[in-house]
Symmetry: D2
C-alpha cells in the first residue's frame, strides 16, 4: 500500500529540542481558528503562548481580554513576532490565501510552523513556502484536523490494518449550513477552503495518490457568478493510482446543519464515518423520532482541533516528523486545482497536468 | 437451562395427518385478528378456510365480501361450525374472556386449535380448557406472535446458544398509542390483554420460570377507577427461578406511537430488540433528523402473525408438537394474576400462591 | 417541476375491464423473479395464474410442484401461451436481453404486460417493444420495484410535497455481495441489470431528466475483461436538466451483504434511505455492538415486489395508466448507454447523443 | 411541577466574591477523580490550584509530577490545607465514606466545597455535613455530573419545557464492565456509589420526590456475600409523589462495556438518552455492522466532569446558588437507604421511614 500518511516531511534536523521549559508560541491570525488555537496553547503544558498577531487590532484585543490569555502580547506586525527569539513556533491562522507567505516567513525566521489548512490557493506560492521550510529544516505541520478525529482515525486504522481489503470506492462530503466565509470569499472557496478537507481525507483513507479528477459545480445562491468561481454546490470524482474511485461532494446550504461524512468500501468490507447526532438524546414525538441538528464544526471537531495542536507541540519537543506534511497539503491543493480546471473545461483533468 | 420454549404441550396423538388435501379451517371471531388470520389461511397452501363464525353478522359479512374469501361460509353459531367434519382445525379469535370456552368446545369436537392470546382471564377456566385439550389429544397452539418476529427470534437464539451467558436482567415493554380495546374493556386489560405478551416474552427469553411478581399500576386516564382494574400505566418486576430479574412496563398513551421493545442482559453480553423505525428513510430538517412514527401492531408484526399461523398449519399436517403451548399460556396468566394481586395488596406476590 | 413519475404511458383504451372474474395471467420465465411473481399472483384476489412458460422445462416443473401453484399449466413455447384467450395479462420475467421481444409479442397478442426490469439492453429493440405496446393499446408496466418500497416512497413523497425544496444532490448505490448473475452474464451487466435501478431511482427522485453522464468503471474480479464490459465496480455521475447532480455507484463484491441506499439533498433538507439492518435486534458483545448483515434483495424488497404486481393487477382491472411506464424504462436505458459510452471514451456523454 | 432542580441550597451569604484574582483551590484526594478535577482546575481561568492532599503520598506525588500541575503543593494532612487562607474552595475527591467529614471540616474552615458524589453513606453523617455547610454559609455543590452531560440536559429540558407532558415512567441504568472499586469496596457499593447517580437522575428528570422504593438485588460474582451488601446486580423501582414510576438497574459485569442510559416517558412523548457509540465510525463486516464498545466513564463524561467544576468556579465567583445542592445529595442517599432496607426485608419501603 502506498502510504501518504507516513510520507516524511521536512524534519527538525536538530533532533529533540534541548532547550528547557515550555516552547514559546505565537499565533498569527485572531479569527475563529486563531482564537481556538490560542486557547489550546494556553492550556497545554509544554507550550507557552507569548503573542498574537493580527492586522485588525480590535478583534485581537477582544481575544486577549479572555482571562486564560492574560499576559499574552498583541503585535500588529507579524514580522516583529517572528523576530522574537523566545518565539520558537508559530501557528498560522490567517486567511487561507496568505498562508504560503506566512509559512515561508516563519520558516525563514527559524520557527517551527503549524498552519491551518489549506497550504495555499496557488501552486507556485505553496511551493515557495515548502522550499523555505525545507531550507530552514524546521518542523512544518498542516491542520487537517479530521485526521485527529476519533471516527476518522478508526476508519483509517481499518484501512491500515487490512480489515477493508483492497480499497475500491470512497466517499467524503462536507456541507455547510450556510456560506461559511465572510463577504470577501475567495474564488473557488468551496474547493479551496472546504473540500480541501475532503480531498485530503479520501487520499489519506485510500492510501494512494490521485491521478485524475472530474468535477461538476454550480452556483445556486448567486446564479451567473459561476465563472468567478463562486460555486456553492459541487460533486468531484477522483481516480487514484491503485484504481480506487472517490466521490466528494460539497454544498453551502445544508439547512439541516453541518454535515461531514465519509465512507470507505473495499474488498474486505466497509466503514462509514459521521452521523451527525450532537448528543445521545432522542426525542419521540407525535411527528416521529427526532435527533437534534448536527453540531457546527468547532463543536464537532473540538477534540480533534485540540489534539492536532497538542500533537504538534509534542513533535516539536521530540524532534519528530510531522503528522500531516507539506506534501499532504500540496497533494490536496493539486486535486483542488484539477477540480477547478475540470469545472472550467467540462472534462476530466489529470492531476499530473496541473502540478 | 430450564427451557420453557420446548416444553411439550399436548400432542396430536395420531401423528402425521394422513388425510389428503388441505386442512379445513374455521375462524371464530371476525374482528381485527380474525380477519387477519382469515386472510393468511386464504393464501396458505395446505390450508382451506371453510367458515367464519361471529355472533355479529354484519362485520363477518363485510369480511366475507373480500374477494380472497370468496366461497367461505358464514355461521352465526360456532357450535354448528364445530359440527362440520370438514373443519379439522379452528382459529379462536374472539374476545379474550371467551377463549377458554371456545378452546374447550373445539377440542371436545376433536378439532385442532390455534387460539389468539391470552389463554384466558381466570385460572379455573383456563385449566378447564387445557384439560379438554389434553383429553382430546388435539394440537393446541397459542398466538404469542412475538416469538415469530425476526428480531425477537434473534434475541432468543442468542440466549439459546449461550452467547449471552447466564441471563441476569431482562426488560420488555408495550406501550399503545391509545386505549387499544373497545368501550367494554375487561378489568385489568393492561395486564390481561397487553402485558401478557411481555410476560411471555421475558419468560421465554429468560428460559426460566417466574417465582415472584411485584407490580405498581395507576389510572391516569380515568382517575378513581383503579379499583375496577382500569389501570393504564404499570411497571411489573418479576424474579425468575434462576435469579434473573425482569422489568415489564406498559402504557395506553404513547403519543409517539406503538412501542414494543425488549432487552436481555447476561454475563456474556446483551441484546436489545425494537427501535420503532417504520422504514429506512430518515428526514433531515432544520429542526433535526426525523424518523417517522413506529408502525401500529398489525403492520409491525404482520410477518410474525402470518408466520405463526403458517407454522400451526405445518404442525397440524406433520403431527408435530406446538410451538407455543397451553403451559406457556398458563404461565403468562399466572404472572398476570400475581401482578393484579400485587397491585391490590401493594406487596410482592409469589407465583406459587396464585396458581 | 418536471414530473416523470406521472408521465402518461400507454393506456388501456377500453377503460375499465368489463369482463367478470379474476384476470387470467401467464408468467414467462420460471427463474427467481418469475417464481416470486407466480406466487404473488397465486395469492392475489382479482388475478388467476393460468400458465408458466420457460424453455427449460425442469425448473418450471419444480416451480409448478409447489402446492400453491396447483392447477397452473406448463407451456414450453410462450407463443402458445399468448394464443390463449383466457390469458389477458403476461408477466415477463425472462433474461433481460429477451424482454423487448417478449413485450412486443405479448402486446401484439393483445395482452397487458408487466415486465421485469430492464426494458432491454439496446435502444432499437426497446423502441420496437414500446411501439408494439403503443399500437396495441395495452397496459404496460415496468418492474422498478424500489418505487414501491416504503422508504423510497417516503423519500419521493418528501420531494413531491416540496419538503426538500429544490433538489441539488442525489446519491443512489447498489452493491451486491457477489456476482448476481449466472455464468452467461451479459456484457455491462453492472449497468444494464443492476444500476438500471439506481438510474431510475435518481431520475424519479430528482423529478427531472438526465442530460449528461460521466462514468468510470473497473474490472476487479477478472482484470483484463473490462473491454468486454465485464466491469464489477463503477461510479456514475449524472447531471439533470434542472441542475441537480447525482452520483450512482455499484459493486459486485460487498462482503458485508446487499447494500441499497439513496440520498436526496435539496435547498429544504435531506432524506436518506437504507440502513441495512435486517431486523430490530442489536447484539452487544465484548467486541462492540453488532447489527446483523443486511438482507438479500428478495427479502429486502419482498413487500415491494408483491406491491408492484398487486398494483398492476388493480390497474388492469381499473383501466388506469401504469405506475412505471415504458418511457421510464427507456430513460433508464439511455442513462445506461451513455454510461457505457462514457467508460469506453473516458469522457462525459450527453444523453441526447445516445438516444 | 415540584422542582428539585432549583431547590435552593446553602448560598454564599457574602454575595459575589469581591477579592481579586483567581480563586485558590485545594483538592483532597489524589485518585482518579481527584486527578481529573486537578487538571480541570489547572486549566480553568478564574481558578488557581494551590494544593493537593492525600494520605498516600506516592500517588499524589505522581500526579503532581504532571507538567500542568507544576507549582502545586502536596500536603498529607488535609487540616493543614484547610488552614491556608489562600485556599478559598475545596474539591473533595476522597473515598465516598469520608465525604461528610471532609465537607464539614472544609465548611467549618470557611471554604466553599465541591464534593464528589455521594454525599455520604449514612444519613446522620450526611446531615452533620449539611448542617456545617448551613452554619458556615459557604457554597456547597455536589458532583452529579450527569446533570452536565449534553444528552441528559436535553432530556431535562424537554421535561422542563413541558414537551413530555406529565411524566409517567422513567428508567435509568448504570452497568459497569467490571467491579469499579478497589478490594476494600464498601458494603452496598452498587447502591451507594453507582446507582446514587441513577437515583439522582430519575428524581431530577421526574421533577418530583421519591416516596416509595422497592429493590431486588443479588450477588452473582461472590454468592453468599449478599448479606454483607456485596451485591452486583440490582433492580430498583421508585414511586414518586406525583405518581411517576421509575425503574433503575445496575450491574458490575457488562462485558460489552460501560452502559449508561435513561428514558423518560410522559403524556406528551418520550426521550431516551444513551446509545453507547464511542465515535461516529461503523464497520460493515461479513459478520454484520459493528459499532465499537462504549467508552469508559472518564471518557464518556469528560466534558460533563469539566463542565460541572467550571460551573462551580463561576458560582463561587458570582455568589450564585449551587447547581446541585446538599438537598439533592440527601434525597439520593435516602433512596439508597430505602433500597438497601428493601433488599434486606423483601418489601417496599417508604422513603419517609428511612429519613
Amino acid at each position: 500500500v502506498n502510504e501518504p500518511e507516513t510520507g516524511h516531511g521536512p524534519r527538525a534536523e536538530s533532533g529533540r529540542e534541548d532547550r528547557d521549559g515550555p516552547i514559546g508560541f505565537a499565533v498569527v491570525g485572531a479569527g475563529r481558528m486563531g482564537a481556538f488555537h490560542a486557547e489550546t496553547l494556553a492550556r497545554r503544558p509544554g507550550a507557552r503562548l507569548l503573542a498574537i498577531s493580527d492586522p485588525v487590532e480590535e478583534g485581537a484585543r477582544r481575544l486577549l481580554a479572555r482571562p486564560e490569555l492574560e499576559g499574552v502580547l498583541y503585535e500588529r506586525d507579524y514580522q516583529k513576532v517572528l523576530a522574537d527569539p523566545e518565539v520558537r513556533a508559530v501557528v498560522v491562522a490567517s486567511p487561507g490565501g496568505s498562508h504560503p507567505e506566512l509559512i515561508a516567513a516563519a520558516a525563514e525566521a527559524g520557527k517551527h510552523v503549524f498552519s491551518e489548512k489549506p497550504l495555499g490557493y496557488e501552486l507556485a506560492a505553496a511551493d515557495r513556502a515548502l522550499a523555505a521550510v525545507e531550507r530552514a529544516g524546521v518542523l512544518f505541520q498542516l491542520g487537517f484536523q479530521r485526521r485527529f478525529d476519533a471516527g476518522f482515525r478508526r476508519a483509517r486504522a481499518l484501512v491500515a490494518d487490512g480489515s477493508l481489503g483492497k480499497i475500491e470506492l470512497l466517499r467524503s462530503l462536507t456541507r455547510d449550513p450556510e456560506l461559511p466565509f465572510p463577504a470577501a470569499m475567495p474564488p473557488w472557496a468551496l474547493f479551496r477552503e472546504t473540500l480541501t478537507h475532503d480531498f485530503d481525507v479520501v487520499r489519506w483513507l485510500a492510501g494512494s495518490e490521485a491521478i485524475e479528477v472530474f468535477a461538476m459545480a454550480d452556483t445556486l445562491f448567486a446564479p451567473g457568478r459561476r465563472e468567478e468561481g463562486q460555486v456553492d454546490t459541487a460533486v468531484v470524482r477522483i481516480r487514484f493510482a491503485d484504481g480506487a474511485l472517490a466521490t466528494v461532494d460539497g454544498s453551502f446550504r445544508a439547512v439541516y446543519g453541518y454535515d461531514v461524512r465519509a465512507e470507505v468500501f473495499g474488498s474486505g468490507g466497509m466503514v462509514t464515518v459521521g452521523d451527525g447526532a450532537p448528543d445521545a438524546a432522542r426525542h419521540y414525538t407525535r411527528e416521529g423520532i427526532v435527533t437534534p441538528r448536527p453540531r457546527w464544526f468547532l463543536d464537532l471537531f473540538a477534540e480533534a482541533y485540540a489534539a492536532e495542536l497538542a500533537d504538534f507541540v509534542d513533535r516539536v519537543a521530540d524532534g519528530a516528523p510531522p503528522a500531516v506534511t507539506g506534501a499532504d497539503g500540496r497533494a490536496s491543493l493539486l486535486i483542488c486545482l484539477a477540480a477547478i480546471e475540470s469545472v472550467q473545461t467540462g472534462r476530466p483533468v489529470r492531476v499530473a497536468d496541473v502540478g
